[in-house]
Each structure stands twice: as structure tokens, then as C-alpha cells.
Amino acid sequence: MQYSRSLLMILYLLKVIIMLIRRKEFLQIGSLATASMMMPRFLKAFESNALVPPGNKVVVVLQLSGGNDGLNTVIPVRNDIYYKLRPALGIKMDKAATLTDEVSLHPALAAFKSLYDDGNLAILNNVGYPNPDRSHFRSMDIWHSASKSNEYWNTGWIGRYLDAQCSGCDKPTQALEVDNVLSLALKGETANAIAVKDPRRLYGTSNEKFFKEVMKNHGPTHHDEEPVEYLYKTMAQTLSSADYIFKQSRLHPTGTTYPNTDLGNGFKTIASLIYSDINTKVYYISLGSFDTHVGQEAQQERLFTQMNDAVKAFTDDLKKNGRMNDVLLFTFSEFGRRVAQNASNGTDHGTANNMFLISGGLKQKGILNAMPNLADLSDGDLKYNIDFKDVYATVLKNWLNADADNILGGHYNTLDFV
């Protein structure tokens, strides 16, 4: 009895000391600190094994670039039409990862099957939009901007989410792209997200003596109307953000081993940031190219292996740290591919596609809607029956508590998966 009491005393004192030291980091939390984060950390440490504060829902968007072939991802293993139109490419049931009697996953996605079995995976079929465009850059722009297919918008849906979160803030880090170049999806009207592939490298670059001095010498804000001021504002935000991101990435770096691929390392960075106090709510990362006009089997298998291993490491990591319920990971591609295979053992650009939704906090799990109707095609292509903007609306409204209508420039239905 006495022994455990003095142990508690020591722990208590330790926590107080840690709290005092950590106060500086606590103050780094952005404006969106939730109620649970205001609670002193030493108290929360008693609640669970992890030293990491729970709460704070985040979204991770995994973009499959190039038009992933959905039919060989979520496979209709009892559909004759599928095998008839894909004599060589069709994946047989005994090779695939079984989900149900009728549906299997691509053989390289074993971890996705596990997530399905654990109730952490949902699949949305036939996601697309009216008057689909089959050009990569056009369709990707449409998915990024959430525009209609005949509109050209210069901002992205996550960028506009950032506008709302970051009005006048000095560090637009509420959305982060794990890449070197910023996608349209994360460009807003007034704010742009930060693209950072390697927090250490961005920190190094932005801390170069010359740039720091240029910033310092510029002084506080000048007349905002002068065009060069926009560059200084961006530079100031970049330097602050680079600092903030790097320091946060070192707060509670994950101890889990991730595959040494671009995607693996990207997810590792994301996990480390999730465990920190950073104010980031949306992470964005890409994998590609899935543009399998020729020799689809090898290319899709290679990429899916990367995706499977990276997502497995990520979700295992999150589960270990009790954060699986706080994270919603979803995949998308700018279009699916045609039902019939082509003459080069590949497939050509198509239309509607499926999306994976992964979280411990799903309200609906498993296969959420009917598989594509291969007897009712549009000129050889799948017909969509869920507008992707409904998916965005659901994520924005139900997961991020944001004003979806404003961000998407219109009202869309919310679904019930979260």
C-alpha cells in the first residue's frame, strides 16, 4: 500500500515537472485547441497508457494518381460479365482476398481485408460526377476543386477549408500536404496550405541565414496593397510553419517501423505529427501512377503492395496509440477505368470508381452500396451513383465540423459513414 502511494507521489511530482517544462510547447497549440487539450497533461497521462492526448479528429487523404482501376481493386468475383470482358486481366476468386461471397479485394491488399474484418474499413462504390472528363489533369482538377465538370476553379476544397480555419493566422498548417509541390486541392482563396515532404529539410532551407535576415530586416507588416507584401507574408508564414512543423514532428515521433518507400515515410511523418500538438486537421498524400494502359497487372500489384504495407504500418501504429478513432483515412482516384480490357493487357480511362474509408470511428462499415452494375454501362463505362462532393460534404460536416456548403460552393447530401 505504502509502496504504491509513494510511487504515485513520485509520478505526480514528475508530471508536474514535465508539465512545467512542456508549458512552452503547450502554448504552441494553435487556435483550434479542443477542450480535452486544455486539460493538464499530467492528468491525462493517468487515463491511458499513451502519453499522447486524444481527441482532435483528423483526415488523411490518399490520392491514387493516374486513374486506379477500381474493378480490379474491389472485385466482383461472381460476375460473369467481369470475366468475359477481362479474359486476361480478370482476377479469379481463389487469388483474391475474400470479403464476402460476391466481393473480394486485390490480392496485394491483405491489410485492407484485415481492416474490413475489424470493422475499420468501408467501401463506397460508383463514386463520380456528372459529365465526367477523361483527361487526367482535367478530372483531377475537378476532384481537387470540387467544381462542376465545365467549370474552372483556381482553388481547392481543402484550401477553402483552410481559408475558414486560418483567417489571418500566421501559420496555415491546419492542412498539410506531404509532398514538395502543393496541389490545387490545398490552395485556398486567401490561404495556401504548406507542402512539406520532409519537415527537417524544410526547416533547414527556411532557416538559412540569408532568408532569416531578409525576413528580419523587412520588419512588421507594411502596406498590404503592395504586391511584394504578399510574398513577404507567404515567406513569413513559411518560416513560422517550417519551424512549428519541425518542432512538432519531434515531440512524439512514432517508434513504429514503416516501409522505406515514399509512401511509407510519408505516413510515418503524418503519424508523428498526429501524435504531436500540431493544429493540423487534414493531411494529403499521393501515390502513383496508376495509369495502367499497358501491363496493368504488374504495375497495380507493385503500387498496391506499397499502399498495403504503408497503410498497415500506419493503422497498426494508430491502434497501438489509441488514435484509430480519431483518424479518417480515405482514398480516391480521378477516375476509374473502362470495364473491358484493351489489347495491351491494360485498361483505358473510365469514369466512376470506388473509395476506401478507414477509421476506428466509422458509423457504417463494410460495403456501403451496391457493386457496379456491369449490365448497365454507359458506352462501356461505369455509371456513377454517388457524387464525390457528397463524400466531401460528409467529411467536412460530420468529421471536421466545418461549413460544407460554403466550402463546396453549394449544398450536397451528407452520407452516414461518419
Binding site: S65, G66, G67, S135, H136, F137, R138, D141, N150, Y152, N154, D179, N180, V181, L182, S183, K187, N192, A193, I194, A195, R201, L202, T205, S206, K209, F210, F211, E213, V214, N217, H218, G219, E226, P227, V228, Y230, L231, Y232, T234, M235, Q237, T238, S241, D262, S286, G288, S289, D291, H293, V294, G295, A298, Q299, R302, S344, G346, H349
Partner: protein, 487 residues
């Protein structure tokens, strides 16, 4: 405050060209801008030489593919080879044209071509179509807008990009008609959907052959009566373009775009409307319009000087004009364009590049600031651009072999840019300048937007080990500032 001739002429060079070259620095203070402009016009007067980067082998294979050559059909390997050569050739054309922008004395001509190539935005995987369209921009960029519009509308590149070869009487495709009205001439909101449908009917039959020549396919053409923009008749495509040109809104829309590109992102509508009247009344004479713009007093107002953010191409070309260099591998320039968000011949979509502040985000800004050091071999291009599937897979519906590239290789690590800079021009230029004045003089030659503290920062970090080192480090540092991004 009196704006010096030097500043005015620098302003003129950044807007009517790609920035002053180091050789031009001597002349800039000597002439009034009107005179300097006359020299620019003269240097652009000759008809441009057609640029061809396609190798004989590619030309030969391409002709075989189209069945116009001697030998018969091609096998899979050959078709893949053609596709790869086509992709490589378009890249070569990009780098060739960029080099023209750097070295050509016909700065005005190349700058106008650069503007039109962003206005009439088109993408194509076929090198021959690209070369033909580029020549249209360079040849007709200073002529009259009517001629330019018609040449572009009949180009293989544009017809295929906007799917007009699929536009026929039985199954009209409206894309071409829509973009011509919305983006190339009248602007959004100045026509109806009905106008588009009817105009599309007029453009039926407008196609191009594999040589890139315009071909009118009579049997695709809908020769019924049409009503476009309140005019009725049995119109063909040419008629519709004439109707569009008769509409003053076209002059207004084009003038607005020219103003925001060449003068200031913030439009002065009084000036624009006057210019538009002039443009329309002169039957869309482009060189007369540009002369008015570049020789008017308001153009040299302080509020217009240093007011625009340089586009990636203006930045890259401008740097090379001031510090001439030889690159071991031109591919670095191609990757830089990609990373900065603008590649010649690869507009993001038919609306072109929005420009202005959209050039700047945290990544592109840091990259811009680091580029001079990369050229100077003190930094590495350790950033990989995003992939571009449309180009990589070579998928066009234009008749070129629909055979894609082999599976993508693992990501390369980008290293040193390996540029050899020729500093002699700059060393000579500043020969007679006293040490104390050197930094100030260099700064005035390089920056159109000034910050009172920039000179201070540069002088603190300068390499004073020798006069040469001083000049070099001054130039590289000044180019590494936010101020240098403005022109």
C-alpha cells in the same frame, strides 16, 4: 518624383521582353523609352524562322505510321519508339523556345508569342502540331487578332485539343465552339448556350490531317441555317469567327487580358476602354495597340513598375539573360518549370495560367528564392516535381500511336544543377564603378521593386574576398530576394 530612363527601360524590357540582358545595361540610361521601344520593334520585324526539333528518324517513322511513307506498317516496338520520341521532342521544343526567349534579340515577338500561347492554351502530344501552333504565335503574334484567331482555330493542335475532329453534323461536339467564345474571344456571360450550339454546327467538318494541315470535311459539315449572336445565315466556321470579331465585346475582352498581363493585375477600366475602342477601330491591329501601351505615360507610372509577380518563365529567362550560363543538362530547366507551376507548351487546361498571386505558395516561393544559388552551384535541386500522367502516357485522341511508356522507373534523386555561369559581361559592366557605389548600382539594375533594407541585408552577407567575388555574390543574393520576383 522623376523616374529615370534606366528604370523606365528596365520596366519596358521586363514587360515587352524577358528582362534586360547584361549587354543591354549600358544602353538603358541613354535613351527615352519611346526610342528604346522602336528598337525593340525593329528587332522583331523579320519573319521568325520555323522551329523544328524533330529528328529525321522521328519524321521518317511518323510518316510510316501515317501511311504516307515508303514502307508499310509498324510493329509494337516501333510504335512505342515513336511515342517516346514524340514526348522527348515536345520537351526539346519547350527548352528550345525557352532558349530563344533568353537569347533572341526579337524579345517583343517572343513575349507576344508567350502571351498568346497562354491565351490560346492548348496541349498536344504530337510534336508537329506543337511546332505548327508555336509558329502561328510567333508569326502572327503582332499582326491582327482576326488573322491570329483564324490561324489558331484552324490549327491541328487546337482542333484536336478541343475535340473538334469529333464534331460532326450527326453528333455535334460543343467543346471547341464553347472555348472559342468563353476563353478566346467574348468571355463568359456574353453569349448564350444556344449561340454555342449553333456555332458548334458551323464548325462541323473543321478537322486536320496527320501532317497538321487544316482539312474541311464536307460530309461532316452541317450546312443548314444557323443563328449566332443574333445573326442568321448558312454559316460556316469562318463566318462565325467574323461575327464574333464584329462584336465589340471581343475587343474589350482581349484588351482587358492584354492589360492585366502587360501592365497591372489591377485594371484601370478607363484606360482599358479607350484602348479597346482603338483596338476595334484599327481592325484589331495588335502591334498598334502594343505601341500605344508601351509608349504611353501611364505605362511608366510608379504604380505599374515592379507591380507584377514574374511568371516562372519570365523569372527563369530573366535570370539567364542577366547571368548567361551553360547547363550540363537542360532537364533541370524543365523540372524547375514544373516545380514552379508553369511549363511552356503544357498549360494546366484550356483556360491557361491564372497568374498573379497564384504563382506563389510556400513551396514555389522558397524554390524561386533558391534558384540563383542552385545555378551558382551552392545549392541542390533536391525536389522532385509531381508526375504528369497526360504527358507521360502520351494519350491523345489525335491519331498518334496510343501506346504508352513503359512502367515508371523509381524516383530519381535530383542533385546539383551543374550550370556554368559566364560572369565576364557583369564584371565588365561594373568595371568603372567605385567600390562604395557598387552594391547600389547593381541593385538598381536588378530590382524593380525596392525595399529600403534589402541592400543592408545583402551587404552584410556579401563575399568581399575580391572585387569579382563581391560582384558575383551581390548579384546572386539580390536575385534571391522577394523583391527580385517582381517586375
Amino acid at each position: 518624383m522623376e523616374v529615370s530612363n534606366q528604370l523606365k527601360n528596365q520596366h519596358l524590357m521586363w514587360r515587352a521582353g524577358f528582362g534586360p540582358s547584361v549587354e543591354q545595361l549600358r544602353d538603358l540610361p541613354k535613351y527615352k523609352p519611346e526610342k528604346y521601344y522602336k528598337a525593340l520593334v525593329k528587332a522583331s520585324a523579320k519573319e521568325p524562322q520555323y522551329i523544328n526539333v524533330a529528328s529525321d528518324r522521328l519524321i521518317d517513322l511518323y510518316e510510316q505510321q501515317q501511311g504516307t511513307g515508303k514502307r508499310k506498317t509498324l510493329d509494337e516496338t516501333q510504335r512505342r519508339e515513336i511515342n517516346r520520341m514524340q514526348q522527348a521532342a515536345v520537351k526539346d521544343l519547350n527548352l528550345y523556345w525557352l532558349k530563344e526567349m533568353v537569347t533572341s534579340p526579337a524579345q517583343l515577338r517572343e513575349k507576344m508569342a508567350f502571351f498568346w500561347h497562354g491565351h490560346f492554351a492548348s496541349r498536344n502530344g504530337n510534336i508537329f502540331y506543337n511546332q505548327l501552333l508555336l509558329h502561328v504565335f510567333r508569326k502572327y503574334g503582332l499582326s491582327d487578332f482576326g488573322t491570329l484567331l483564324k490561324q489558331v482555330s484552324r490549327s491541328a493542335s487546337m482542333l484536336y485539343f478541343l475535340n473538334n475532329q469529333q464534331n460532326r453534323k450527326s453528333r455535334p461536339n460543343e467543346n471547341f465552339a464553347r472555348e472559342v467564345m468563353e476563353l478566346f474571344t467574348l468571355g463568359r456571360g456574353n453569349y448564350t448556350e444556344k449561340d454555342i450550339k449553333e456555332a458548334a454546327r458551323a464548325f462541323t467538318g473543321w478537322t486536320a490531317n496527320s501532317k497538321g494541315e487544316f482539312v474541311f470535311r464536307e460530309n461532316f459539315h452541317d450546312n443548314g441555317e444557323k443563328t449566332v449572336l443574333d445573326k442568321t445565315g448558312n454559316f460556316n466556321g469562318e463566318d462565325v469567327l467574323d461575327i464574333i470579331l464584329e462584336n465589340k465585346q471581343t475587343a474589350k475582352f482581349i484588351t482587358q487580358k492584354l492589360y492585366t498581363f502587360f501592365v497591372n493585375d489591377k485594371r484601370d477600366d478607363t484606360i482599358v476602354n479607350t484602348l479597346a475602342e482603338q483596338f476595334y477601330n484599327s481592325k484589331y491591329n495588335i502591334s498598334a495597340l502594343m505601341e500605344t501601351i508601351f509608349t504611353s505615360n501611364w505605362f511608366y507610372d510608379l504604380k505599374n513598375i515592379g507591380a507584377k509577380i514574374k511568371s516562372p518563365i519570365e523569372l527563369l529567362a530573366g535570370i539567364q539573360r542577366m547571368i548567361p550560363m551553360k547547363l550540363e543538362n537542360d532537364a533541370a530547366l524543365f523540372n524547375m518549370q514544373k516545380i514552379l507551376g508553369q511549363q511552356l507548351l503544357y498549360p494546366p487546361n484550356v483556360a491557361g495560367w491564372p497568374g498573379g498571386r497564384s504563382w506563389i505558395d510556400s513551396s514555389t516561393l522558397m524554390m524561386r528564392l533558391r534558384i540563383p544559388q542552385m545555378f551558382n552551384d551552392k545549392d541542390e535541386l533536391n525536389v522532385a516535381p509531381k508526375q504528369d500522367d497526360d504527358v507521360m502516357m502520351g494519350r491523345r485522341t489525335d491519331g498518334t500511336a496510343a501506346v504508352p511508356e513503359k512502367v515508371r522507373a523509381a524516383r530519381k534523386i535530383y542533385g546539383a544543377v551543374a550550370a556554368k555561369i559566364d560572369w565576364s559581361g557583369n564584371i565588365n559592366q561594373y568595371e568603372k564603378i567605385k567600390k562604395e557605389q557598387l552594391l547600389g548600382v547593381i541593385k538598381n539594375n536588378l530590382l524593380q521593386a525596392d525595399s529600403p533594407n534589402i541592400q543592408q541585408v545583402v551587404s552584410k552577407n556579401i563575399d568581399a574576398s575580391s572585387r569579382e567575388a563581391y560582384i558575383k555574390s551581390a548579384i546572386v543574393q539580390l536575385m534571391s530576394t522577394p523583391e527580385y520576383q517582381m517586375c
